[in-house]
């Protein structure tokens, strides 16, 4: 009773405010709980979340262009891609420098592969030009400049010169080129002060001087470039591959020069970057939307088949006497003890044209021998095999929910005058919906990302988006596109999950209890 007159904060036995000692006690509990899950948390973060985040990041990452062709990207920034003309000589000069270094670093083919995703032919263009770029006539610059100052022919002179900050500031292009060159040599275990000087360095020096650079360094101040005959780089490039005269190649480089790109995502939804932003790809290149639709549609069909086949089984499991139910349960779980590959291959044996089912049908005379059913390497085969494989994921949650529905509800309904069917449909079924929901989410999400089974029995018409993702990961090596497709798939799943939550309510999903 005296408590009510006490206006101050409640105190614990040791005199600290009750609130604070409660918070302390709870914090200790939380830390202990966290320590318990820490091993798993770290494991998941390191081996799962981080790689996935990295992978998803690849869907927008595009640093390869600006890293491999830094000069070109910069020179190309002012070029108007709609002009219909090839870029000015300066861009070719930048490309020359970039390509020589990329070729030395063996990066130009990777860049070619990357840009080939956006424009076919770029890959061979880079490969060919890479082979030829060393033989361009730029040695004329080398000869002319070393003639004016033979000292320049010594690598040590360059190394020393490029230490000098006044030289560096007066010859920006030369400096950048030297730095990249030197970095490459060092990474290759060489000493830049001893290695043979490449033409590209003299070309860069020539470009700087021609553009009006006036270094005060005595080794350079005497150089006069006005009488040096410029090399026609556009012609040299065109000579290596005439595609360099195609503005659309340049446009591709320009469009994909930023560090981040939406290109992969556009590609993943059958679009591409056009002159006025995103545009649809040509009809004959559209594939992903169709694949996404097919994946969703077939997953839906598989989910519905699983409900149709699994519901009665789960009902039996939940209502049979324990002994029989246990036997049946073992049969349901049996597939889990067999390798997925074995089960899928078994379906191949069953469904193929010379397979068990066709043989039986022919033997029964239901199907003529020359018109055996095609049940494999198409959508039908995928649906059949995947329904079989995913069925336990439907049955188990259904079973555990049905187990909690007492028989008295059905009895009550019947005693109230409902026929068996009404009692089931109005009373039993609504209560089993959480099980259907849980099973459907499991089966649908599993099948949306399924890979092995469609790969084996899907043929061309029964494959899923995941097969395409796998193709880009392991065959075409277009990881960015694979990541974009994966991200979209993830987003679709999350979206569906959200819709489900809005419509059915996620607390209406029970895995048991």
């Amino acid at each position: 009773m005296s408590d009510t007159t006490n206006s101050g904060p409640m105190l614990a036995a040791d005199g600290t405010p009750l609130k604070r000692s409660l918070a302390r006690a709870l914090r200790r509990q939380k830390i202990r709980a966290l320590a318990l899950i820490a091993p798993l948390l770290i494991f998941v973060l390191v081996t799962f979340i981080a790689p996935i985040a990295d992978m998803l990041f690849r869907s927008v990452e595009n640093q390869i262009v600006s890293e491999t062709l830094p000069e070109t990207v910069e020179a190309l920034a002012d070029w108007d891609s709609d002009s219909g003309e090839i870029p000015p000589d300066k861009v070719f000069e930048a490309l020359y420098i970039d390509l020589v270094i990329a070729e030395a670093e063996k990066k130009h083919t990777r860049l070619g592969t990357r840009l080939n995703y956006e424009k076919t032919g770029v890959s061979s263009l880079f490969r060919k030009s890479g082979r030829r770029v060393g033989r361009f006539d730029t040695d004329e610059y080398t000869d002319a400049l070393t003639e004016q100052n033979p000292d320049l022919g010594a690598p040590a002179t360059w190394a020393a010169m490029m230490e000098d900050s006044s030289v560096r500031s007066s010859l920006p292009l030369t400096t950048r080129t030297w730095d990249r060159w030197a970095a490459y040599l060092i990474s290759d275990g060489e000493n830049p002060a001893e290695e043979k000087l490449e033409d590209v360095l003299f070309a860069a020096l020539y470009f700087d001087l021609r553009d009006g650079a006036s270094p005060s360094d005595p080794r350079l101040s005497s150089l006069d470039v006005s009488n040096i005959e410029p090399v026609d780089l556009p012609a040299s490039f065109a000579d290596a591959d005439k595609d360099w005269l195609d503005p659309s190649v340049w446009k591709t480089i320009q469009v994909y020069s930023p560090n981040y790109t939406s290109g992969y995502f556009l590609n993943a939804v059958d679009m591409q970057k056009g002159p006025d932003g995103a545009e649809a790809r040509p009809e004959n290149q559209q594939i992903y939307i169709m694949l996404f639709q097919r994946t969703l549609f077939m997953s839906l069909v598989i989910t519905v088949s699983c409900i149709a086949l699994g519901y009665p089984v789960a009902w039996l499991l939940a209502n049979l006497p324990a002994r029989t139910a246990n036997m049946l349960m073992i049969l349901v779980l049996l597939p889990f003890w067999t390798s997925l590959l074995v089960r899928t291959s078994a379906w191949k044996v069953m469904l193929q044209q010379q397979g068990v089912i066709n043989d039986t049908l022919v033997w029964l005379g239901l199907v003529a021998d020359d018109s055996r059913l095609v049940m494999i390497n198409n959508q039908f085969g995928t649906i059949v095999a995947m329904t079989h494989i995913l069925l336990p994921f439907m049955i188990l949650p259904l079973y555990s929910v049905m187990q909690t529905i007492p028989e008295t509800y059905l009895r009550a309904a019947k005693s109230l005058g409902a026929t068996n069917w009404t009692a089931f449909w109005r009373v039993y079924f609504p209560q089993s919906v959480p099980g259907i929901g849980a099973g459907s989410i499991l089966v649908f999400i599993l099948s949306i990302g399924y890979y092995i089974t469609p790969e084996i029995v899907g043929g061309t018409t029964g494959t899923f988006i995941s097969n395409r993702i796998a193709y880009h990961i392991s065959s075409s090596l277009n990881w960015g596109l694979a990541a974009a497709l994966g991200s979209i798939l993830l987003a679709v799943v999350l979206l569906l999950y959200w819709c489900y939550d809005r419509i059915v309510g996620i607390d209406n999903v029970k895995l048991g209890g």
Binding site: T408, R411, A413, K414, A418, Q431
Partner: protein
Amino acid sequence: MAKTSNSDAFVEFERVQKSYDGENLVVKDLNLIMPKGEFLTMLGPSGSGKTTCLMMLAGFETATHGDIRLDGTSINNIPPHKRGIGMVFQNYALFPHMTVAENLAFPLEVRKMGKSEREAKVKRALDMVQMGAFGGRRPAQLSGGQQQRIALARALVFEAELVLMDEPLGALDKQLREHMQFEIKRIADNLGITVVYVTHDQTEALTMSDRVAVFDDGRIQQLAPPDQLYEEPENSFVAQFIGENNTLEGVIKGINNGVAVVELDDGELIDCKPINVSKAGERTRVSIRPERVEYNKSRLQEGAHTLKAEVLEFIYMGDIFRTRLRVAGNDEFIIKTRNAPDQERLQPGQQIEIGWMPEDCRALDAT
């Protein structure tokens, strides 16, 4: 057995047997006739077959043998949903995914009743159990007692003439249970419905029923109105099961003029009323209700039989005193005396004399 059914019989069990496993009879030879409007309670220990009987009546179990008739027609082959029997389940079995009103409307809907009529009936049924304001709630949002009322209303809303209740108050606390007993009885009387009520709470059985059927071992041990059941148990099981009871074991010395002389195991001779004993030499169990025994001499009536006793325990319970005695070698002899101003409070160890009237002392079977 072409015996025509009893004219005023509404529910009839005739020689009904039930076995679940083909080895043991759970219900053995059940015969029961209920007139219309009766409130009959099945009372008995756990596993005695009460629920089984109810389920056979409702149609969820089939009788292995015998005939069950409702209003003169055999219902053995009528499926449960056509029997028109209302049922209140022990755990209420309210459909959790429907509101209270939908639960009540369910039996009307399956009977294809029109919407307006349905709503009127649901409202009336809810008002009857004083739950009119709860139609929109889900069963999970109701207290146990409220769910109970809804279950009752649902069993009554389609105007079933026969309502079965299987331990409907089992899950409620004592106070609420007593209140609901009264409520159920009132509604049943008002509507004039026939009720078969299952419980293993004997107070409930005694306070609510017109007749009580005491079940044990698959048989009806006694079927009688409550007062008769309490005061005139026909066998020692009923005497033990209903109310508190003292038993003294002994042997019949002789029976004449409706009085049996019993020699108790310590040699004492007492007079009893013979109930289901027949001849001298038979072992018997003598039963006396604790409240029929007196120790205050002034209260003993003429002709009372007296016996020596030792006080073992004296418990003050407010309205009554409850005393445990040793009588004729029995340490569990209980007497209950009213807390009157002149009543002596006994001390453990005290030697006293107790007495009772011979007609309150019943000689029953020894088993």
